[in-house]
């Protein structure tokens, strides 16, 4: 079982067990199945362009290679910033008390590119924090699940059904001005994949 999320607000700690929340857990899911002529489910595979190799599930892997073509083990990889400089490794925040900031402006969450949503089970909840969450207040704390070079931001919220952590990174939108209009560039028409509005 994963270590709990522990936050510290005003010198008082609160602890939460956590479980990822997704659509399937709330609403179920829909899958598109391909059936063979006997009504049995087909397996999706790939064929190399030259047709010589049938690639089935489990036959490929991904990794980093240097210019000489040598594979670089994951243990040698580090996080690099835009200038190529090594970043500091951030340990996992689970099981370690994290400073809880807030209440913060609820609108901050609207600028978060949410990667994960967790439903939280309080194991020891500060009554003052509980009251603030029930009152619709929003709090922020640092989050890094496994440890790494890309720490995320988490927002702690509550409602009548429970407590939740929304985890992600800031998203960037831009101001629109009268003088700046969007060009109808036919070549830029194919950015649909970026939204990833795929079947579920």
């Amino acid at each position: 079982m994963a270590k709990p999320i522990i936050v510290n607000w005003g010198g008082v700690q609160s602890s939460f067990d956590h479980e990822k929340l997704d659509r399937a857990k709330l609403y179920g899911k829909r899958q598109r199945w391909i059936l063979d002529p006997h009504g049995q489910r087909c397996e999706r595979a790939e064929l190399s362009r030259d047709g010589t190799l049938l690639i089935r599930s489990g036959m490929t892997a991904q990794g980093y290679f240097d210019e000489a073509g040598a594979w670089i083990p994951n243990s040698q990889l580090v996080g690099l910033d835009a200038e190529g400089k090594q970043l500091k490794h951030v340990p996992s925040t689970l099981g370690e008390p994290q400073p809880l900031e807030g209440p913060v402006d609820a609108g901050e969450i609207l600028d978060l590119a949410v990667r994960s949503v967790y439903v939280l089970s309080p194991e020891g909840l500060d009554p003052k924090l509980e009251a603030a969450l029930k009152d619709g207040k929003v709090f922020r704390f640092p989050f890094c699940y496994r440890g790494g070079y890309d720490p995320e931001i988490a927002y702690l919220v509550g409602n009548a059904t429970g407590y939740f952590a929304l985890v992600g990174s800031p998203a960037v939108s831009e101001w629109c001005e009268l003088q700046t209009t969007i060009a109808d560039d036919a070549g830029a028409d194919d950015d649909g994949d970026e939204l990833d509005f795929e079947m579920f």
Binding site: T60, Y64, G107, E194
Partner: protein
């Protein structure tokens, strides 16, 4: 340029631009001073998969230790470039007849609920006859962020001077009141928003911000309520 056909509260409509709001770029993985490329490669041949190896007689674990039968040195490590998707029958053979396609619905308990022939669902955010419209339902930002998880945001932008006025007014109205407006698609404005064929249906909440003559009109998209599994709706 992606487009959305949008109608305001006064039932004026216009076709305007839509752009995705991107996440701020994060760090990359690498080794300082080395130029690396990220590639997909062949890790095993079919004969080296566990499914095949486990059918062989003898002690498979010992065979793996002694002779690495899972590694075909001729091809393992080969770069995998573009491929074509193929479907294999349940027996693992390439299909020579058209397969049938079904949509299978599962409940939250994982049990199959329904199976029906697959049907394509068209996009509905740039329909000439049915613009995306305000539903009349508004919520405060504080309320909406504790009820829904927003998985995507898109930014709505003007394409000319007239549409600037159209969008600026919307943004200012929402910003002044600190509210978001629920948008809907379809003839009655009750349907979720689908941005491309067979795309995920989303509920769309429009947020406005203004700074002098500048504005931001952000459409936050959610397909997930903040609700503990098993809790009443």
């Amino acid at each position: 340029m992606r487009k959305i056909h949008l109608m305001n509260e006064e039932k004026r409509d216009a076709t305007i631009a839509l752009e995705s709001v991107k996440e701020r770029p994060g760090p990359t993985s690498g080794v300082p001073g080395k130029k690396l490329s990220f590639r997909r490669y062949l890790a095993a041949t079919e004969a080296g998969t566990w499914t095949r190896l486990s059918t062989q007689a003898g002690d498979v674990a010992q065979a793996l230790i002694d002779a690495d039968p899972e590694i075909d040195r001729e091809v393992v490590g080969k770069h995998v470039g573009d491929t074509q998707t193929v479907f294999l029958s349940a027996k693992g053979e390439v299909l020579h007849a058209s397969p049938s396609i079904v949509d299978v619905l599962f409940g939250p308990d994982g049990a199959e609920r329904e199976r029906k022939p697959a049907a394509d669902v068209p996009a509905n955010t740039n329909e000439k006859e049915s613009p995306v419209r305000w539903t009349g339902r508004r919520m405060s930002k504080a309320e909406v962020v504790t009820k829904f998880a927003f998985r995507r945001s898109v930014q709505i932008k003007h394409v000319d001077g007239l549409s600037y006025d159209f969008l600026y007014k919307m943004a200012k109205d929402l910003a002044d009141k600190g509210e978001v407006a629920l948008l809907g698609a379809g003839p009655k404005g009750r349907d979720p928003l689908i941005f491309q064929e067979n795309g995920t249906p989303y509920r769309g909440f429009l947020e406005g911000r203004v700074d002098g003559p500048r504005y931001k009109l952000l459409l936050h998209l959610s397909n997930l309520e903040l609700r503990a599994p098993g809790a009443a709706t």
